[in-house]
């Protein structure tokens, strides 16, 4: 039983006002959660009726029937969720099943490892066959006409700007260029990227940067080859049209006052387009790598050696490109979304 004399302090520790106390009583009354003593108080208060009427109106509005989503959306939701379930299940069975647990399909969760270590090799095999992968990958790695926008150098930006949230900066930046808009068309995405390229890099830097990219590409080609995603072949056509651009913090200043308000001291963000995971990886090597300790997903994937850069898909979802360094020195790029789900390897 709630003691009405013991009203809850506000979250900031201050006491509620008298009006708030009266609101609380009226609200609890509407919900049938008022105590007998409180009901007596309410019934003796001439203003309570007005408050209760207001709250009943609000409650009716909030509880109004909700139109269910179209059957196709519902089906897509459930299908994607079940695909994820199958994916996780196959990973879990591959990596954590033991003779004691593998035979029991109803094994309670409490008997399982709380955070199973994911075998990336097994994960790759299982994901290669997953129908969900292609669907989610398409959000990140589309054809050249709807290219991926990568925002990098965030860690550097964060340190220069005094602890700004990486994702905030990346999202603000992408939003300012309309790249995060769901309605953004492929051509808009390209246009935004081109605009970024034009600002972030001078023409004189362009050639040098392309040369660097070529060198990086050849150096990384072999090591990244083993992690190529299955969509790669279908996207080969788009690779040639993918541009590479990078900000040169030392030489180029943004002339856009709006952008300079975000990136105060220097243009710290590079915009890339990529159509495959390897292409993305090659371009990301131009960015300043961030330590795994700052990654939100590396630990989940049991990656202990490597680095990462933040990325953003064309529909504005922030993710990470994690480059895992295997014991034999192989660099394996892994693209994950904000929920740390592997999109492509």
């Amino acid at each position: 039983m709630t003691d009405p004399s013991d009203f809850n302090p506000r979250d900031d520790g201050t006491s509620p006002s008298d009006a708030e106390r009266a609101d609380e009583l009226a609200s609890a009354f509407v919900d049938g959660e008022a105590t007998a003593d409180e009901i007596i108080l309410i019934e003796n208060d001439p203003t309570s009726a007005e408050r209760i009427a207001q709250f009943n109106t609000v409650t009716s509005a909030v509880s109004a029937p909700i139109t269910p989503p179209p059957a196709a959306i519902r089906a897509a939701h459930l299908a994607a969720a079940m695909a994820e379930f199958e994916e996780n299940k196959s990973i879990d069975l591959t990596t954590s099943a033991s003779p004691a647990t593998a035979g029991s399909s109803a094994e309670p969760a409490s008997n399982k490892p709380a955070e199973p270590v994911i075998d990336l090799t097994a994960a790759r095999e299982s994901r290669a066959a997953s129908p969900a992968k292609a669907e989610r990958s398409n959000r990140w790695l589309m054809s050249a006409a709807a290219a991926l926008l990568v925002v990098g150098g965030i860690g550097f930006a964060s340190s220069r700007l005094g602890g700004s949230d990486d994702a905030d900066i990346a999202a603000d930046f992408a939003g300012a260029d309309d790249a995060g808009d769901e309605e953004t068309s492929a051509s808009n995405a390209e246009g935004a990227t081109e605009a970024l390229q034009a600002e972030a890099m001078g023409e004189s830097d362009d050639e040098a940067m392309e040369d660097d990219a070529m060198e990086e590409e050849s150096a990384m080609e072999e090591s990244a080859g083993s992690g190529a995603m299955e969509d790669e072949e279908a996207m080969e056509e788009g690779e040639e049209s993918a541009d590479v651009a990078a900000a040169d913090a030392d030489t180029e200043e943004s002339s856009d006052p709006n952008r300079s308000s975000v990136f105060v001291e220097a243009p710290l963000v590079a915009a890339f387009e990529a159509t495959t995971i390897n292409e993305l990886f090659e371009q990301a090597t131009l960015l300043e790598p961030l330590p795994l300790e700052e990654s939100l997903c590396a630990a989940d994937l049991a990656i202990v050696d490597g680095y990462w850069v933040p990325v953003e898909s064309i529909d504005g979802e922030i993710g990470e490109l994690i480059v895992q360094i295997s014991p034999d020195g192989e660099a394996i790029p892994i693209l994950v979304d904000a929920a740390c789900t592997v999109i492509a390897e």
Partner: protein, 200 residues
């Protein structure tokens, strides 16, 4: 088959059980997302994230609460996370045409009022979630407290404050809100406490 039994099977990898859980609770999860998001498009995305979060987390669900309560918590958090991600992006501002200075008639004033879909996103998240769980899902305060991991008293005050926000947003021209009207309960600062004091 009960949710508990389905959960046990799903944790063991039974796809049919997992599918049944999702099918059974889909409407409620979508309803939470729809009200929290405020529009169909965001709700669809948020609901998808919520379902994925449920699937990813089912292995860690420990049955300390019911699946329903747990899934509502997961969905609420997934929806709020999704909306936070979207909120970080700047929104294009469209200049409104100059308002007509003539006094609008009653019908116009009514139509100008915000709908609940427009009003809910305007109230702070910490108030929005308990109001939605109460009025959309019909949870009692104890269930909401468990779902949101809050004290029951905090749930009670947040629902009240959320409703006050909504009342003010939905009908700002109503002159007799709590701030403009003195309650007899509140004539003195300790009036409530005084009234609750047992007779001596």
């Amino acid at each position: 088959m009960t949710d508990e039994e389905r959960v046990a099977l799903a944790q063991g990898g039974d796809s049919a059980a997992m599918n049944a859980l999702l099918e059974t609770h889909y409407e409620r999860l979508y309803a939470i997302c729809r009200r929290i998001a405020g529009n169909d498009a965001d709700a669809a995305d948020a609901c998808q994230e919520a379902l994925l979060a449920v699937v990813k987390g089912i292995g860690r669900f420990d049955n300390r609460s019911s699946f329903k309560t747990w899934s509502h918590r997961v969905a609420t958090n997934a929806c709020l996370d999704e909306l936070r991600r979207r909120k970080r992006r700047p929104i294009a501002v469209v200049d409104e045409p100059d308002r007509i200075s003539d006094e609008p008639d009653v019908a116009q004033r009514v139509s100008d009022r915000l709908t609940i879909d427009e009003a809910l996103p305007q109230i702070p998240e910490e108030f929005r979630a308990p109001v939605v769980l109460r009025d959309v899902i019909g949870m009692d305060y104890a269930e909401i407290a468990e779902t949101l991991e809050l004290a029951p008293g905090t749930v009670r005050s947040r629902i009240a404050r959320g409703r006050r926000h909504l009342a003010n947003v939905l009908a700002p021209d109503i002159p007799d809100g709590p701030d403009s009207q003195e309650s007899s309960l509140i004539g003195e600062p300790d009036a409530l406490g005084e009234r609750q004091r047992p007779p001596t």
